[in-house]
Point group: C2
Chain length 148, copies 2
């Protein structure tokens, strides 16, 4: 068992999951703040040098999980580990955000898709991307192709 406690909380414009863009072509351009606990602020030293951050957070308003589910962007069911569904065995979410600026323990970022008040579990620098041309995106690419 691995027990995590929040390192901070998300300040987001989203107060209801219905307002978060989902599905094919959803753009996550919302700006907000990652409010890190003041006692952990030294852990942010030098983070300003990174343009993008990986945020791990808790799907704290999601209950239970399902191994097979139909995502909002397709009409076919897929395994939970082949989707970003919130209803996962361990309800950990992952979002890559653009760091706009830091003010003490607060990181102003763009690209949020979490609800206001969401617990943050970890922040890591985003270091390298897989070149776009080698990424295969399985059912998601098929769903996108079908919608065109």
């Amino acid at each position: 068992m691995c027990t995590s406690r929040p390192i901070g909380f998300v300040g987001s414009p989203y107060h209801d999951t219905a307002n978060i863009p989902k599905g094919l072509g959803a753009k996550h351009a919302a700006e907000g703040v990652l409010k890190i606990l003041p006692e952990l602020e030294p852990g942010l030293t030098d983070i300003e040098g990174f343009s993008h951050l990986i945020v791990l957070w808790e799907f704290d308003r999601s209950q239970g999980f399902e191994l097979i589910g139909t995502p909002p962007c397709d009409n076919r069911p897929h395994g939970v580990f082949a989707t970003r569904s919130p209803r996962r065995p361990n309800p950990i979410g992952l979002t890559i955000v653009e760091l706009l600026r830091r003010e003490g323990p607060s990181l102003h970022v763009r690209g949020l898709d979490m609800l206001d008040g969401t617990s943050i579990l970890d922040i890591k620098p985003y270091l390298t991307g897989i070149p776009t041309e080698v990424i295969r995106r399985g059912w998601l690419a098929e769903a996108e192709a079908g919608k065109q």
Copy 2:
């Protein structure tokens, strides 16, 4: 508090952290197996279509954390959230691996940097990369430039 249980375990050639490539220019080309619990196998449905996976795992042999530390690839200290240090407030690791093939509940992958037996917390499809030209990598880029 967020409590996670393993969804499976890593079969890795690394049995000692000393053998895992670290620091500047470290290449993670090790092959191994993500052994998912048989009862969760339905959650892998359609995962074969993705070339790369995000693996969240537990630094289960790491004790405690430090907010400021000096990583193996630099001689200057940095905040823990600006590094990939295992000594984090929540000991969650993240690795992007290439999916080679699936055999039932076992995912054969390339690019491991975890120890053999490491607990896996989640697997997500890798969907999009940030274009390399817009990624800024702060102290790490400086450390690399200094070594040339």
